[in-house]
């Protein structure tokens, strides 16, 4: 083993201990209360140009873990040697700015949580809704990081949130409305008007029953904050992740300094914000920091891990992992910055087109720069006015074309919490935007 260890230039460990609680209330009945206690570690070792990674659950012998990861790295490097990986330097992160928590969810009795869910459900069950589901999630965890360079740091974080969905049906047509909020501290349920949100989920489901599916085609469009945020994250954010760039799987490769978007567009990733993607340091112990991905239309920066920062030149701080998985380059809180347009101006600008609201998810191909997102609902815009409610509309197109066809950026930035699933690992993120008006986009409908 000593022989191998001489060739291991770097190793690090993340030990994570935590617990989570979930409660599911389904059609008025508690369907699930579950608690989960976990402990585990993820250990990396670097030998030449090869990484070895070991993930262990339960009781952990770190020394043994480092040896196992080192063996993997050594063996990989022996079998397929390649150029040595360099790592950009990191300093001890400053531990400041952790979200303040006024009410620890663990101090709230489970009965009280169940009562809260029941009142959320009651509010979602507006006339016409025939099925509801409310989920409560709470998690707390402690992360300890240390590496062979002597860096050691740790933090504890807890988060809490809920989601509510309502389904309405009529003549064999089913439509759903959903709302969710995630944040820090049980006071979230005081700050957010959760009962009103629940009502909104119910109303959406009922309204959508009457909505029409429009004819698709190319036309001007307004995106609401949530859908535009999904675009910022999926289409632009992923393409700016330096690991994808190095794989040759990004349209943003070699574009730094170029005008790639309308000058109205500034896109930022900022893990220091107390949104759902917050972290004080990343999975490599690098201090979290704000990155301007696009500044006034000019592509400014990729998002980096220590490895990609050394290769492409840049600053690390965006390397993240779900639990004990191997960290990869990820976003945090990603958003299009505020402009100055009002919504009325956008309606005037678009005249005849569609207003798309909310997101039922989407996907991108970062290599080809194309994307597809489904809106939750929308309105037809006729003569500069919102008219008929519509559903089952999707937006697709080329990322760079859309970025250049943004003609107005609103002043009403709003963030939405979610989970991003890159590399099969879910991590908490948020994304957002103000309203955007786009001169031309491909909409799919009936």
């Amino acid at each position: 083993m000593t022989g191998i260890m001489q060739d291991i230039k770097f190793h690090d460990c993340r030990v994570i201990e935590g617990s989570s609680t979930s409660i599911v209330l389904d059609n008025g009945k508690i369907e699930e209360i579950s608690r989960n206690f976990t402990r585990g570690a993820g250990i990396r070792a670097l030998c030449g140009g090869s990484w070895g990674y070991t993930a262990i659950e339960g009781e952990i012998d770190l020394k043994q873990g480092v040896e196992a990861a080192s063996k993997l790295a050594f063996s990989m490097n022996t079998n397929t040697p390649k150029e040595a990986v360099e790592l950009a330097a990191v300093n001890f992160p400053e531990m400041m700015n952790l979200p303040e928590i006024r009410i620890d969810p663990r101090d709230v009795a489970i009965e009280e949580k169940v009562d809260l869910l029941k009142s959320i459900e009651t509010n979602a069950k507006v006339k016409g809704v025939n099925s509801t589901k409310v989920m409560y999630l709470e998690a707390e965890f402690k992360i300890e990081y240390r590496n062979s360079e002597g860096l050691e740091c740790a933090y504890e974080l807890q988060n809490v949130g809920f989601s509510v969905s309502a389904v309405a049906s009529e003549n064999g047509v089913y439509q759903a409305g959903r709302e969710s909020r995630f944040g820090y501290g049980y006071e979230l349920f005081e700050k957010e008007n959760v009962l009103e949100l629940a009502g909104r989920a119910g109303d959406t489901a009922v309204e959508l029953l009457k909505a029409k599916t429009p004819k698709g085609g190319e036309m001007p469009v307004i995106l609401d904050q949530e859908l535009a945020g999904v675009f910022a994250h999926e289409a632009v954010g992923h393409a700016s992740e330096a690991d994808l760039v190095l794989e040759g799987d990004s349209i943003l490769e070699n574009r730094i300094g170029e005008q790639i978007a309308s000058p109205l567009i500034t896109i930022i990733d900022d893990p220091t914000l107390h949104e759902f993607g917050y972290y004080p340091f990343d999975a490599e112990g690098a201090q979290s920091r704000r990155t301007e991905i696009i500044s006034k239309g000019v592509f400014n920066s990729y998002l980096h891990s220590r490895e990609t920062a050394a290769k492409l030149g840049g600053t690390p701080g965006n390397c993240r992992a779900q639990g004990y998985s191997m960290p990869v380059v990820r976003m945090s809180n990603t958003f299009i910055d505020n402009g100055d347009a009002r919504f009325e101006e956008m309606l005037e600008e678009v005249r005849d087109g569609m207003y798309l609201i909310g997101s039922r998810g989407g996907q991108v191909n970062t290599g080809e720069g194309i994307f597809q997102f489904n809106a939750e609902k929308g309105y037809l815009i006729k003569n500069g006015e919102l008219t008929e409610l519509i559903r089952d509309v999707s937006l697709s197109g080329k990322t760079l074309e859309i970025l250049n066809q943004v003609v107005l950026v609103g002043n009403d930035l709003k963030m939405t919490a979610g989970r991003c699933g890159k590399a099969g690992q879910l991590v908490p993120v948020s994304d957002g935007s103000p309203h955007l008006a786009i001169s031309k986009a491909l909409l799919g409908g009936a």
Partner: protein
């Protein structure tokens, strides 16, 4: 932790559980990944944990842990949670011991014994395969082998232990010259019967063939879905509606449709937990119900929904052995086993005068899982002219409804693939709306 499973069951009874269940799962996986054409990392993952279901007065509590030290606490929490809940009149009981089928092909000693060097060899085969067609580069991919062990114990006498193995390979390819096009291919199996070189080769070939796509006019046309594309639609837009839990809660598009003609009479669909070497094959489901073959659609007619033991108890029927868990951290819910799409096979492309062939789709998960409506972006799509693939199509949106789709199937290919648990040939559907 394995040694503590039986103790945990006793602890649960002692803590006041009227019924209890211990679900133990362990796995060890080794993966070798590449970025571009260079191997990047080797990963070893050891996972082991226990999930406890405790029932008190017809109410269920659940807790899980991967820590021996926390196990006793987790058992107590599960029982305490059950006490907090009101009696659930729909709860019947945990499954009891029954006769179990014999299944085969799910454990391969060779996979269990694989060394890292062999894994590296298969990862390299994926990369080498892509080089058969110059002009492309892999972007990422990898080889993984895994061995799992699971133990289900409950207070009604169930005690089922099983070991299984799996290997998989995945590769993403991009063209390096001219217009950019991408493609991927993957395969998963219980044993080392996959030609990884061929997987790399086919991804590379598909990326090249997709280069320089044309734009097509919006139209209604015949669309042939490759097994990758068709399985995606089935999983996201159709299968949620045959989940008995969704049916019972009013969230299915197939409520009160049993016995109805749902699809063309040539189509049958089976859910089968027992097929040789299936990815979802095992002696029992994840709560100890003996695996079985269930006819979901027989000659176009919807025969049954799929049940786990809870939803079956609620409906007063027998479980179809579809109790499924993604991990020891979650209680069981209804999930597909091996899901087999059966339709008379022909040389389906050769039989098609004009239409579109779609290899993969993106955005299937955005489908409306209740109404079955979907609107997806087709990838690696081609026009079909006079019974052969003609030109690549640049960008294509396909909108439709999964239930309508089943009524408009007009053909299937010989190219049956196991896409995870879904086993399907290419499927041709008439009159679908596409927007280029």
């Amino acid at each position: 932790m394995y040694d503590l499973a039986r103790k945990a069951l006793k602890l649960a009874e002692k803590a006041g559980a009227e019924e209890a269940e211990i679900y133990y799962a362990a796995s060890h996986s080794t993966g070798v990944n590449f970025k571009k054409d260079a191997l990047e990392s080797a990963k070893d993952r050891f996972s082991e944990g226990i999930g406890i279901r405790a029932i008190v007065n017809g109410a269920v509590g659940f807790a899980s842990t991967n820590s021996k030290i926390k196990l006793e606490n987790a058992v107590e929490v599960a029982v305490a949670e059950a006490r907090v809940r009101e009696n659930d009149p729909d709860w019947v009981c945990l499954p009891s011991n029954e006769k179990y089928p014999t299944v085969s092909g799910i454990f391969d000693k060779k996979v269990e014994a694989m060394e890292l060097e062999e894994c590296i060899g298969y990862a390299l085969a994926l990369v080498e395969g892509t080089k058969e067609f110059p002009g492309t580069l892999p972007t990422s991919g990898g080889f993984t082998r895994a061995k799992g062990r699971q133990l289900i114990l409950n207070t009604n006498g169930i005690e089922i232990e099983e070991e299984s193995t799996a290997v998989s390979g995945f590769v993403d390819v991009i063209t390096v010259n001219g217009h950019t096009s991408t493609a991927y291919d993957f395969a998963v199996s219980r044993s080392l019967d996959i030609d990884f070189f061929a997987i790399g080769k086919s991804a590379s070939q598909l990326a090249l063939k997709s280069n320089g796509g044309i734009k097509i006019e919006p139209q209604k046309t015949d669309v042939i879905f490759h097994p990758f594309a068709f399985s995606d639609i089935i999983e996201e837009a159709f299968s949620p509606s045959i989940d008995a839990d969704n049916v019972q809660k009013g969230r299915s598009g197939l409520i009160e449709k049993l016995g109805e003609e749902l699809a063309v009479p040539e189509l049958s669909i089976y859910d089968d937990g027992m097929i040789e070497a299936g990815i979802e094959t095992s002696v029992s489901d994840d709560e100890g119900i003996p695996s079985q073959r269930t006819t979901v659609i027989e000659k176009g007619v919807l025969e049954t929904y799929l049940y786990d033991s809870y939803t079956a108890g609620k409906a007063g029927v027998k479980s179809t052995a579809n109790g499924s868990r993604s991990s020891y951290t979650s209680p069981p819910s209804v999930g597909l086993r091996n899901f087999i799409i059966d339709y008379p096979k022909t040389d389906v492309i050769a039989d098609t005068q004009s239409g579109i062939f779609v290899n993969t789709i993106i955005g299937a998960h955005t489908a409306n899982s209740i109404s079955g409506d979907f609107s997806v972006e087709a990838r690696n799509a081609f026009t079909i002219k006079d019974g052969a693939l003609d030109k690549p199509v640049k960008s294509l949106m396909i909108s439709g409804n999964a239930f309508e789709l089943l009524k408009h199937i007009t053909g299937a290919g010989f190219d049956v693939r196991k896409v995870g648990g879904i086993i399907t040939p290419s499927i041709r559907v008439s009159d679908l709306s596409v927007i280029g």
